[in-house]
Amino acid sequence: MNRIDYLFKNKPHSVLSVYFTAGYPRLADTVPVIKALSEQGADMIEIGVPFSDPVADGPVIQHSDAVALKNGMTLKKLMEQLKGIRQNTGTPLLLMSYLNPVLRYGMEAFCRDFATQGIDGVIIPDLPPEEYIKEYKTLFTAHNLKNIFLITPQTTEERIRFLDREGEGFLYVVSSRSTTGMKNSFSEKQTGYFMRLREMNLSNKLLAGFGISNRKTFDQACRYLNGAITGSAYIKALEKEDDPARVTREFIHNMKGENITG
């Protein structure tokens, strides 16, 4: 069973998924960050592949992408870094990348190489679902990779039903009309949108993303959906300190509202 499906089977609520940019803050930080996240209780990890022109991202991830690229991060290097990662963690791992680097790597090689290293799913924001279904779904299925679709406050009910029918792993609920970034809390309009989604009784699990940055936004999302994804806030935290393990422990415990022990 794919680790994403397994996760939701065992933990249908309050799933915390954490996004970070590979090769950030230092090139060699990718694996230590994954280990730290997994040890400190992140339920799922999204490994961001840095891109020169990340149009769906706000300033924090734009910056981490630029730093990671300067550090020399590439898909090929990431592939090398991830060798043996499954000896260190059983946490579901996703790759998030814009389409161009993946196409340059080659979609077939990409699926083969990263599935071999134990990647469970992929998020490619600028690959339209229709194109995925037509061109790549068979390939992804053969490698037991989930391709995650996004829905937004602008998505019509008809299209949500379509994405739910075709969706795999979970649906990524973009919380608001914005690029990635941080918010202190969600408005009633946003929680109303989460509620409407919950009431649609969709067959996929729903994770909120974009704007989840503290315990409050995480809790708000978890009240209506199956969990949430946080990225910019974690990247901000990583940039401040040298020791990913320490930063990560504090970050996760703050998000989940648990006391830090030990």
Binding site: D53, V55, A56, L99, P101, D126, T155, R159, R177
Partner: protein, 396 residues
């Protein structure tokens, strides 16, 4: 080559190129445009209003000028299609007028645009002022400096100009920021894109709106030479809108040689260049599958050209297809050559061209034509905005 498919691309594809590679956040906006743009463009009301604005407001038709001294110098017949004489000084106004009417029809209140040379920004600010719409223009911070007069014009016209500090601080980065704005304001905002780039339907939409250039050229050629068809048409290419516009009605006339000129920058093999066809690989940029200058890891290469309007690492998908199909020939012209052509035209014809258009003119120095040929060059814009760059170069 099947040219009907070029003029009504299915799902926005020209052969392999095109499409709409956009994040889900932009799906409703682009879908709405895809579903409605053709019906609106072809409606009688729209056509009537647009053609009246093109005539009385933008100053069309633009002259087809027989450049006698250029012709003498190059020993062939050279005509200039004078897009520089339009209101606001470049072909960009043709597109801006069409899209603002479309935006109004769609009920949009706020307009955003990107600009490189500032010509599209000025055209957009102009039509927004004319229609009473709010206007925000994204412009790379480097371009804000090197095209200063256009920044001042936009502000005077009431637009907000947002300098973009990311990347090389040029056109590509301005498009990124405009797309981010659109993601954040999907319902009320219309993205008035300035070239034949972006997700479907923009490449087709902009090509249709610019096709007025070749529509006029056909009867003007006939008037001047007795034939609708010149032997050769030359245009510069940034995203490709002035080229698409002047090629449009000749795409299915194989006897007409079509030549596109890219910005070589400091030289195609110097790493400081914007020659997309010379160096690009198929990829995805700004929502479209097309040739893109990129490295082996799929990161977009920061381009370079003295000409802000050509300083872009991509090209419209229609142009990529026309190159692949060998319908259009591509050449690169370097900074120096373009600057020399600028001065030459100024001294010999009394016309100061935009640095973009000067790239097309400079090809005359690199190519010879038999004496009885009729060559049309698209003089896409005027050079007022470039005076500082031109003067600095003379002093170097």
């Amino acid at each position: 080559m099947n040219t009907t498919s070029l003029k009504a691309p299915r799902e926005g594809y020209y052969g392999e190129f095109g499409g709409a590679y956009i994040p889900e956040m932009l799906y409703p906006n682009t879908r709405e445009l895809q579903e409605r743009y053709l019906a609106i463009l072809e409606s009688a009301g729209f056509r009537k209003e647009l053609s009246s604005l093109l005539k009385d407001y933008a100053g069309r038709p633009t002259p087809l000028y027989y450049a006698a001294r250029l012709s003498e110098h190059y020993h062939t017949h050279i005509y200039l299609k004078r897009e520089d004489l339009t209101h606001t000084g470049a072909h960009k106004i043709n597109n801006a007028l069409g899209q603002i009417l479309l935006a109004r029809k769609l009920g949009k209140k706020r307009i955003i645009a990107e600009t490189g040379a500032g010509q599209h920004g000025v055209a957009t600010a102009t039509v927004c002022a004319r229609m009473g719409m709010q206007c925000t223009v994204y412009m790379g911070a480097l371009d804000v400096v090197r095209q200063r007069p256009n920044v001042e014009r936009m502000k005077l016209l009431g637009a907000e100009v947002v300098p973009v500090e990311q990347g090389n601080r040029t056109l590509k980065d301005a498009v990124n920021e405009a797309l981010r704005d659109w993601i954040s304001h999907p319902a009320e905002t219309y993205y008035l894109i300035g070239s034949v780039v972006g997700p479907h339907p923009y490449p087709d939409l902009v090509a249709r709106l610019q096709s007025v250039i070749s529509e006029e050229l056909m009867w003007q050629m006939k008037e001047k030479t007795g034939r609708e068809e010149p032997d050769t048409i030359i245009a510069c290419v940034g995203g490709g809108s002035n080229a698409a516009g002047i090629f449009y009605h000749y795409l299915d006339k194989p006897a007409v040689r079509l030549i596109a000129v890219e910005a070589g920058g400091k030289g195609v093999d110097t790493g400081k260049t914007a020659a997309t066809i010379a160096l690009g690989l198929t990829g995805i940029l700004h929502g479209s599958k097309t040739y893109v200058i990129q490295d082996e890891d799929g990161q977009i290469t920061e381009p370079y050209s003295v000409s802000a309007g050509l300083d872009y690492p991509g090209i419209g998908p229609l142009l990529s297809h026309l190159f692949r199909e060998k319908r259009v020939e591509f050449y690169a012209v370097n900074d120096e050559e373009a600057l020399r052509a600028t001065r030459f035209l100024a001294r010999h014809e009394g016309i100061i061209p935009a640095l973009e258009s000067a790239h097309a003119l400079a090809l005359l120095d690199k190519m010879t034509f038999p004496p009885d040929r009729h060559i049309v060059i698209n003089l896409s814009g005027r050079g007022d905005k470039d005076l500082e760059t031109i003067l600095n170069w003379k002093n170097e």
